[in-house]
Symmetry: C2
Subunit: 833 residues, 2 copies
Amino acid sequence: MANVAKKVSWSGRDRDDDEDGRAGETTPLLNGTGPGAAGSGRQLTPSPFLRIGQLSNVDLNEDIRELETEVPRQRPNEIPHNEKLLSLKYESLDYDNSENQLFLEEERRINHAAFRTVEIKRWVICAMIGILTGLVACFIDIVVENLAGLKYRVVKDNIDKFTAKGGLSFSLLLWATLNASVVMVGSLIVAFIEPVAAGSGIPQIKCYLNGVKIPHVVRLKTLVIKVCGVILSVVGGLAVGKEGPMIHSGSVIAAGISQGRSTSLKRDFKIFEYFRRDTEKRDFVSAGAAAGVSAAFGAPVGGVLFSLEEGASFWNQFLTWRIFFASMISTFTLNSVLSVYHGNAWDLSSPGLINFGRFDSEKMGYTIQEIPIFIFMGVVGGILGALFNALNYWLTMFRIRYIHRPCLQVVEAMLVAAVTATVGFVMIYCSRDCQPIQGSSVAYPLQLFCADGEYNSMATAFFNTPEKSVVNLFHDPPGSYNPMTLGMFTLMYFFLACWTYGLTVSAGVFIPSLLIGAAWGRLFGISLSYLTKGSIWADPGKYALMGAAAQLGGIVRMTLSLTVIMMEATGNVTYGFPIMLVLMTAKIVGDYFVEGLYDMHIQLQSVPFLHWEAPVTSHSLTAREVMSTPVTCLRRIERVGTVVDILSDTSSNHNGFPVVESNPDTTQVAGLRGLILRSQLIVLLKHKVFVERANLSLVQRRLKLKDFRDAYPRFPPIQSIHVSQDERECMIDLSEFMNPSPYTVPQEASLPRVFKLFRALGLRHLVVVDNRNEVSPCSLCPGARATLCPGSVCPHGLYPVPFLQVVGMVTRKDLARYRLGKEGLEELSLAQT
Amino acid sequence: MANVAKKVSWSGRDRDDDEDGRAGETTPLLNGTGPGAAGSGRQLTPSPFLRIGQLSNVDLNEDIRELETEVPRQRPNEIPHNEKLLSLKYESLDYDNSENQLFLEEERRINHAAFRTVEIKRWVICAMIGILTGLVACFIDIVVENLAGLKYRVVKDNIDKFTAKGGLSFSLLLWATLNASVVMVGSLIVAFIEPVAAGSGIPQIKCYLNGVKIPHVVRLKTLVIKVCGVILSVVGGLAVGKEGPMIHSGSVIAAGISQGRSTSLKRDFKIFEYFRRDTEKRDFVSAGAAAGVSAAFGAPVGGVLFSLEEGASFWNQFLTWRIFFASMISTFTLNSVLSVYHGNAWDLSSPGLINFGRFDSEKMGYTIQEIPIFIFMGVVGGILGALFNALNYWLTMFRIRYIHRPCLQVVEAMLVAAVTATVGFVMIYCSRDCQPIQGSSVAYPLQLFCADGEYNSMATAFFNTPEKSVVNLFHDPPGSYNPMTLGMFTLMYFFLACWTYGLTVSAGVFIPSLLIGAAWGRLFGISLSYLTKGSIWADPGKYALMGAAAQLGGIVRMTLSLTVIMMEATGNVTYGFPIMLVLMTAKIVGDYFVEGLYDMHIQLQSVPFLHWEAPVTSHSLTAREVMSTPVTCLRRIERVGTVVDILSDTSSNHNGFPVVESNPDTTQVAGLRGLILRSQLIVLLKHKVFVERANLSLVQRRLKLKDFRDAYPRFPPIQSIHVSQDERECMIDLSEFMNPSPYTVPQEASLPRVFKLFRALGLRHLVVVDNRNEVSPCSLCPGARATLCPGSVCPHGLYPVPFLQVVGMVTRKDLARYRLGKEGLEELSLAQT
């Protein structure tokens, strides 16, 4: 069953080479629940290791009751899925540098000039990110344009041929088969090679920027599959766009370049080694995402805002400016290359993959009276968007339950492709909306049953790449479309797009949303012009734009960044105010019903996503209630065997361990000395950094930061490290490697306070300490362990207890599990799925 | 001398009603240095209070040596000013809520629905901020337009009269007198009523958003003086703009509305009481600043980015969206009102106080070949900007030393006004550049010695409000200006603007910078067109725009926000890329020589401004070296007399006190229990919240959060609170009012780590604790104080020492004093000035 679960989740495949060297995540919990079963992640079983914290009976009982009720729910062919779950399988990124001695020594060695070099390198990387992202976008655009052109020409010729002599069903068959086979290839590579490349990638990148490590999301393989997949989906005629995936592509490019090596290709260029840690990598990924938005929509400022809205918890002027630089370079590269490709080398007229075309502000300004109308359109967009999301929600639940085998997923994708072609064909066939071909900008005018010199107007919408259809809806002169055509098109495309989103293909939802919105917006404009007997408001293109904004806002619920993206895509700031109004209304109305599409999918994957603030009503919770306890701690000088056992303990899989100075016989009190990560311990064990117990005075082997960087980010699993029985008895001194000043909170701190600290600093582990506990600070010092009792200044026979006592640990999942539901604060259950 | 110092600094006046109830800041330090003298702020004298921390001899010696060398430098008529000083007189804002019991009880009482009401109130406030800011901008614009129109008509009639019959010196006299008298009034009100209203207010708002409390900066009186002052400066013909001050005005409006009361007018509307704390107020001030930018330049997105760049350390999506809403409302209000005022009610054509006019992207696109030229212009802008700043730096130093009396300041302002008029007149008089009046857009064409039907081209630049001159330079057709005219104008205006910035008048530097840049940019464009023999690049308007961007960027060094402001002001995204390149180049080149104008002025005022990151090479410093020590601590149950004495202690003026549980006889160890602020103690004393020592079991009077809010932000000084001798012997229980979970750092944490925590969370006090100190945790428990020794579980006669030991305190000044200078890390001295 766990294997089945793999295929539907973003991170399902290849758990064995999980980036943090953690294996055995699928191993059953010691308390007997199988993998994939829901249950509390708190550790319940007694263990031989130093575990610190309260273990109240109440907790135990509750947890056990919970487990008992969860287990019987499982049925063989259905994956138990509950939206009130939080998955334990996602790791967190660490935005907090581990300031251990090695790190500080390096930083202190670096002088001012060297820091300037580092800064210059950052700029160079950003420029490279921009250039490469732009080039990838160009590649996608050019290939799609040629392949789609080829396909439409073939089908058009066929239709033209069969229109004359009858037998259009052959044309339908040809069209459907072409689409289905292209989509099949696109779906196959995604389903079998890299499932994380499915969809637009925006939810995944949102998670990454939020600090959740989605396995494989920034790998080279993912990029290749994504690019091929998106080309095939668009060429396959699905109701999808190629814009969303650019964000993902940009991020992968950024992650790759900034590390100066490719783990997949096993090439290390030995450059940019300084940037091999989560902090730096995440900054570059932000830049990559921004460059992607910028290339997709020609919206560099929008790209920066997207990255900031989604990611950077800590706004930093330099970082922002670098991100903006990458964005600008990206759109500029795309613009230059496409201009050359289109033969007008110097005019720079294609800033993005989609351009909304030039809205002439003089002809198409708006007046104050129109503002209520725009707000009304926002309401409509919000409702339609919520409907879209609700439908997609049910569909996704269905898919999670029943369509989890890759082959089924491929079949579904082919089905959708064939149905899309069929619907398009039938609509075109049934449409009697003919328009004069003269002066129109249609790329592949289908004459069908129209008179000579005319073309079928429905075909401009269906028989075209969606980007072109959007631009046509914005700019075709009034009268180009008949209201009936637009109405039918909206209806059909709405359901098609809804069905398509979530298929196992690489594709985005931006363009279909814009297209739906533009269609009903234009329809709305035409009706309005009809109602007001053709007053000055009549330009339907303007209403198409507002409808597109409303629909997109109603579906994705982005705010400032989307406003700016729309503004930049129109190339005109005049519409800023109405677009903002429309988006704001759509968001408010939509949020009333159901959340945004991306957030919905993130939640369906049970990702521990941290929102901006703790739930407003959570002041009643304190760190004590939120934290995980007991905590597995390590002593400052620890036995190697203990370390190995703790790391191999599949029941816990903790990634950070407080280092304490404690009386080994009194596990209830321990003074915090630092924090060490699983990955650091792995590297220490791998390099055999330890000394024999008898020779504690010997200096243990020194490591360099480079050793840690070389292992980043795919640290080997503990199982791959052989430790002999003799070595197990050695001692390892962690002082030099642990972070001696981890952030801490007292256990009385409220949840919002803990949340704020955690979120603002991008932490992964937050140690909860007790500074109020009145237990005895003097305990018996056993003579045998005298070496571990430094400076006994207590009365004879007593051992001084350190001052900061570890009582628990807060990690991402402990904070993400509290959510504001309809009935107030609700707590998600933790599950291994 | 201290009185003299008052006048030149932003916060100089009315120290007696400083917002935090702190008096006696001008009282001499106990160690004998006079006020105004530089010296270390660390407390050196022994004191009767509970002071905790190390006091090393090394520190003492160093500090004393420093003091000895500083003292003799003072001379009677010169204010000793050293740019390597950090003033101790600025308070910090507190972005961290004091989560005491009262606060938590209130938050827990508020349910979900009530939180929604709070959220709606926030939106209403933002809308009001936008509307009022827009209206104030309209008011300024309309009044300036009418008064300036009147002035120019009078002068023009006079010139026209005297051109015919000779005696133009009378016209010059009239012009100069008119200007000087108008400026005199503007300068008088600023110098004598509210000096903080001087200048653009941008540095002050930057400081406020950064977390520094500049006294009076967000008061109603300041707003009134600012608005009147800026009108008078612009009408007085100074080389200033009215845009910068809008940012300050918007901030004051926001601060006023969000508090639901005016302390100056003594009116409390009893609304928005929830928002009466620094955290909320600062968010609204961000919105106000953004609304100001938006109204000034018609740049709502630019406004949001400005606020974010300068202020919000923690990016929050909801906050950003609200700020954007306020910005949009602001530009929309301005647009509507001005459209109605100009008679074309519905066309919404004036989004900002300055609009760069419509750049037609078709006619004025750019090609790739032009990009190196733009970069070159950026270099020129950077150099000219650095020159401007360097000149202004010397001028400001001169002003701080010699022109510190208000009357001298008024005289200087009048002098500048008269000189500006004279220079303008002489330039116009000497110019022989005549242009045909037909088809030009000049508002007040001066014929002077030109032929009939022609006008003096120099007069369009000088005989006009600067906003109009800028737009003329952008859009006048090629050939409207003769290169000689532009060159002379640039030269003269450069020095005039440089002299003007820093005068005691309300005025901004944006427009003069743009004007200088537009002039040399246009000159550059003309030369280029001449050199290339009139190729397609010839449009000088485009080069004027780039020159304007380069010059402004070279002076103020803003990054993303300025790019977006320029983009929005041109109403066109086409120029985004070149503008970014130009601004980036200008910033890099400028930063090489000298820092930005605003930062320079902030530094000249010795404000403890926190930059984005700690200096890169500061990893060698730890919290131990950075912190202030010893710390004055309070016991959880403290004698009232001690509290009063500590608050009245003019040698320390601390604002936050760690609350400890300690053995009163052993001041070297104390366990942290919480943190309490001076303002909270003041309110407690005012409401007599204490019980007699004999009746410690009695419940002391309960306070509500409202009592604290009513006193916010102008807490009374301790001197105004009478505490009788009997009351001094009472005890005060702080448990309920202190923040029980203040943020702490261990003393080994590196400076960058401390900085990051402090900056990201917007803290005011950060307690440094020792979790490694190996002193004895068991000390003698004196029988007399048995009540203060709870749960003695130590061996008989010993008292358990608490676990978290306070060793120091880090506040803003401790972090701001480390700076990256030319020769590496440098440390600023602290001074009372």
